[in-house]
Symmetry: C3
Subunit: 311 residues, 3 copies
């Protein structure tokens, strides 16, 4: 490759580039419906999946995306590797690079770390989620899912509900949705609001009931129990009282409004189980579409990066 284009957060893409990626995702989405779901766009390229944090769906999604494009995939996770030998991440990345891999997809539990690694190597890096910082491919697939549902983006009202403070999904979503002209409200109790609220050009509310009737998109975040210190959050009872999406609330939503979640859902916490079996609500839930779209969007992003961001 003659270039190095890193995707650390959604800022690394111009609006025009985002639009191009969504457009290409449309073509790849179509490929995924075919009997033969492969195209040879990245034949003989090698993508390394470096996951320093447990993951199923993002890791498999990238693996599938790369393989559907004809690339070879090398999987690498922190356990089982020679990290035991005290190797620094920089050494690891130098090694990967020297082995002539073509691109690294990296997830890490420390915010900012993927950027640090990207700055210090010369193969392109895609951030698959770093700490509480950013998750750009999630934001792109969320945007794509919204666009597919409404056939437009500008002016839509999005309510993002839950643990904003600890969520890399919320951070990347808010940034991208704002830039694309959507109207974003975040809903969280004070203790789950980020500290530097002024940075985020959003409306705020504390109860889901304040926004449920007006929102086009109700985006439920996952409670990140694994990123909390004990006793920090509201009790699950409190959470359900003010934030959980139950049937009564879901029925107040606008007819065409949709429900999203980055997955995996903590059932009966963020979303009550009964919604999944309620006929009139089922159609609103776009969680599986998000997953399918994730493969297509990641195919489009890999294609974009491998082509140096051209076209």
């Amino acid at each position: 490759m003659e270039c190095k284009k890193d995707i650390i957060d959604v800022d690394d893409l111009k609006i025009k580039e985002v639009e191009q990626i969504l457009k290409n995702a449309d073509s790849f989405r179509e490929v995924l419906e075919r009997d033969i779901k492969k195209v040879p766009a990245l034949r003989a390229k090698t993508v390394i999946n470096m996951f320093y944090e447990p993951s199923t769906r993002t890791k498999i999604s990238f693996e599938l995306a790369a393989k559907r494009l004809g690339a070879d995939v090398i999987n690498f996770s922190a356990s089982g590797s020679s990290l035991l030998k005290g190797e620094s991440d920089q050494d690891t990345l130098d090694t990967i690079k020297a082995m002539k891999a073509d691109l690294a997809v990296i997830r890490h539990k420390n915010s900012g770390y993927v950027n640090y690694l990207a700055q210090n190597t010369d193969i392109p890096v895609i951030n698959a989620g770093d700490g509480r910082h950013a998750h750009p491919t999630q934001a792109l697939l969320d945007l794509y899912t919204i666009k597919k549902s409404f056939d437009r983006i500008k002016g839509l009202k999005v309510a993002i509900v839950g643990d904003i403070k600890n969520s890399r999904v919320a951070r990347s979503d808010i940034k991208l949705f704002n830039r694309m002209g959507m109207d974003v409200t975040i809903i969280a109790p004070s203790m789950l609001m980020p500290e530097n609220m002024e940075m985020y050009q959003v409306h705020t509310a504390h109860k889901i009931d304040d926004v449920i009737k007006k929102a086009d998109v109700v985006y439920m975040l996952r409670m990140q129990f694994e990123r909390q210190s004990k006793g920090y959050y509201p009790s699950i009872r409190e959470y359900c009282r003010f934030l959980s999406l139950d049937l009564t609330r879901a029925k107040k939503m606008k007819e065409e409004a949709i429900i999203m979640h980055p997955g995996p859902v903590n059932r009966n916490i963020e979303i009550q189980d009964c919604l999944f079996s309620e006929k009139i609500i089922q159609g609103k839930i776009k969680i599986n579409e998000q997953v399918t779209n994730g493969v297509a969007v990641r195919m489009a992003l890999l294609y974009f990066v491998f082509n140096c961001g051209e076209k």
Copy 2:
């Protein structure tokens, strides 16, 4: 795919279908002897290997079978996945499905669980072993190995020896062998006999010596130490006295009779080590043939499921 054909146990196949699969296995067995061991029958298809229990041979066998047919394989095991995040298996399966995988191969330690997962998703599922319940691909490869050895099936006398109670291999073998017209005897001490004996149309015996002279196939089961509570079984000494296949016993076998085992063998428990180096016995041991045939039979089964069971 236009269909969903699950293989949870051998009952999911009609006798005609079993015969078709064995016939196709013959062609694939031939492919495995070639210098180029691949055929492009499942090109661009994706098989997900979901193993919730440790496994080497079954997992690698399915991985090889899928790759030999040109499919892409995504490996997924319980550790390292986001199960830590409290995701339900149903969520996992929905995810896989939404990612447009084409087929899931699942092993799980709970009996009946693979069936539950299959009922609740719409991609085809192949059971790679669930608890003490069933292991249909093992039964198919065992049947195929017997057919290859004798060039017939009907009327053959099979002795299945050992821990019947805890064995999914025994359950699937007995069912399939019965249906195919073989004459099955199970040999175990009372405490290793299943409770609902009347369900199994088999003869019973307590000592291997009762059957060793008449059997065409002596099928030694693996002691499932990992599925026992302590103190449950006979001592290893008792086991050897009544059930173990030693040289004296092996020499009493009919000239054309064969010895099988699902592997891995607990040497000097189920089968005495010396048999493996004894010239006149070696030829009877079909364990390696079972392994090789396993890849061919799984190729044939994948091919069958991907073609909706047609032909």
Copy 3:
């Protein structure tokens, strides 16, 4: 395959064969610089990577080498496999063989164990490092890196510095470098010298300063902290005093002399961090070249073994 050629140590190759492998590595090295980094030399062959010891770079290097040649790769590590079931390694290897895999790459923590496995199976085996015994592919890639740097081999002065006693890299390097006509000096405190020194046709020294001005190649070994019993080695302070490569020492090296290390470097122990950012020294450090060359050399070795050592 019509043959079985094991590569347990560098002795398994004649000098002519080593030269042929290095020559082929040149062609493969060129392939790695292309946009399309693949050649179909081993299409439809299956390589099994069996790693019984944690590893990143050697494992990925073999995986890449095999995939670049068009082979399928089955990864297998000790954890997650059915070793829990008490399967013997011999059983595992028989299984792999019966599954019609074409070649096994094996790393094991016990010296001599890979040879034992190779003797008892009939598919070819390549040693990816066994205990303190041998690491032939490391020696080959080191030799290749030296040849590329100097455009000759014979008569070069190599200084191997550090934990000779516990190093399989040192053992294989010394043997191969000697055979190829290089002049080898090993530098270590007495407690890190091997016991049977007379076997190694080498000069010895105890301080890096004794050799730094004359050496063409300064080969820094990795401190194998994981293979030590506590309190066995010199303190890190002592190590740095006599063996560590710091800026003062590096500046005394001959103009064309080079620095090598098998990786991963314990920074500020074997090599001081500042060397990596010092302009006049940077060019001497061949660590990344070693990694890149490793893929090319392993491609050449796989190709050699698959062709039965012919040509």
